[in-house]
Symmetry: C2
Subunit: 220 residues, 2 copies
DNA sequence: TCATGTAACTTGACACTGTTCAGATTGAGC
DNA sequence: GCTCAATCTGAACAGTGTCAAGTTACATGA
């Protein structure tokens, strides 16, 4: 009886398509991650609660702790996957372009596009205090995403190590700051498609201003 | 008896130096704002709770609602003052310099210095979902701070309206993104003075790279 | 086939949180 | 001196994350 209620709840959640299990869920980690990503997509970073994630996965509030330790652990896992997805997007954006400047340009657009398309997840990825900040895998994933900029920028400034680092920091800072300010509506509404399109036009101007088309920028 | 306990609590809080009041606090708004800023300074944006602010001001958890409506209202007031302080800092930084490029450079440094000096308050200022995002005074204060960049950038690009806007967005985005990434420790530790100094050096390189000394950047 | 141990999950509790509301208290204006 | 609005308290409510202890399911080995 009780179990039926539990099963009913379970199938109403984010879900699995496998056979109805009994006491054991079977794929609880993945279900919780999926539930978390759904919450972040629907309600943003502030909307996430561990209990709601558990509810969607059809388990008790205490269940997640056995797999992720605590809420930070679950969010860390989600953030890691977010960084992986971001790195993929940056790589994909640059792959089609010829010049280093075009690659950087495309990367910048892809970065902000990612942030606008997954605002909740993006905000969470950079909410250090809600994650296990010193988790080795998280740090690696974050570094890998940042390194995508270094790779491209190295082409621009000629591969010199020190100036390249500063130039990569500049590129990352610019697009990250633009994305953050856009999400906080400093550049107008971001809730409708028209607003987002206008924001991307502004970003295009910003990138053209900082990395003009006429020849690559030299390091100082 | 009960009242003595209440008074003792009150004097242990963030405090007022006036005469011991009875039932009425007298300066509760200011006391709550001061308490909130103290919490943000000590514990960061995530550490704030309305109850803790009330505790420090020596009043019951329900008291703040009579002055600020809810927690968002109180935080909004704090954010407004934060934006005012930021605008002041940006203005002061630019005032001493000659060229437009030097002014912009100084503003950028001041922006990140502000963020590193008051991380909790800074993060809260840009946490739209924890504030009354459509509050008129908040929007005005935020816009005023952003306008400090436009004023300086207009000198650089020659005052042309449309390119100036993009250039101002570029400047704001860069320093804001740098500050955010620095606070999330993407550029190394920010907990000790040595780490912060190194970060400011990196910022200096970033600004020199994007706005080089040899002549003002032209609009596209 | 069956006992046993371990991993997965639930139950119930605890200390918090923000907010609401009725009622007590206060000070200012008439 | 009285009235009344502003101010604040106390108690309650629904919700949160986490923990210890109990329950269930499953694999392993005899």
């Amino acid at each position: 009886m009780k179990k039926q209620v539990s099963s009913a709840k379970r199938s109403a959640g984010v879900t699995r398509q496998g056979p109805e299990p009994g006491y054991h869920h079977g794929e609880l980690q993945e279900a919780l991650i999926a539930a978390t990503e759904a919450i972040l997509a629907e309600q943003g970073a502030e909307g996430f609660t561990l209990r709601e994630a558990a509810r969607r996965a059809g388990v008790s509030p205490a269940a997640p702790s056995h797999h992720f330790g605590n809420a930070q652990g679950l969010l860390t896992e989600v953030a890691i996957r977010g960084y992986d997805a971001l790195a993929d997007a940056l790589r994909a954006a640059a792959s089609g372009k010829r010049s280093g400047r075009d690659k950087l340009h495309a990367q910048g657009m892809a970065y902000v596009e990612f942030a606008l398309k997954h605002p909740g997840r993006f905000q969470m990825m950079f909410a250090n205090k809600r994650l296990v900040a010193d988790d080795a895998r998280l740090r690696r994933a974050s570094k890998a995403a940042g390194a995508e900029f270094e790779i491209i920028v190295a082409e621009l400034v000629g591969g010199a190590s020190k100036p390249a680092k500063a130039a990569a920091a500049a590129a990352w800072s610019t697009v990250h700051g633009f994305a953050k300010l856009a999400l906080e509506e400093k550049f107008g509404s971001v809730k409708n498609e028209a607003g987002r399109r206008e924001i991307m036009i502004t970003l295009n101007q910003v990138l053209n201003y900082l990395w003009p088309a006429d020849g690559p920028r030299q390091a100082v």
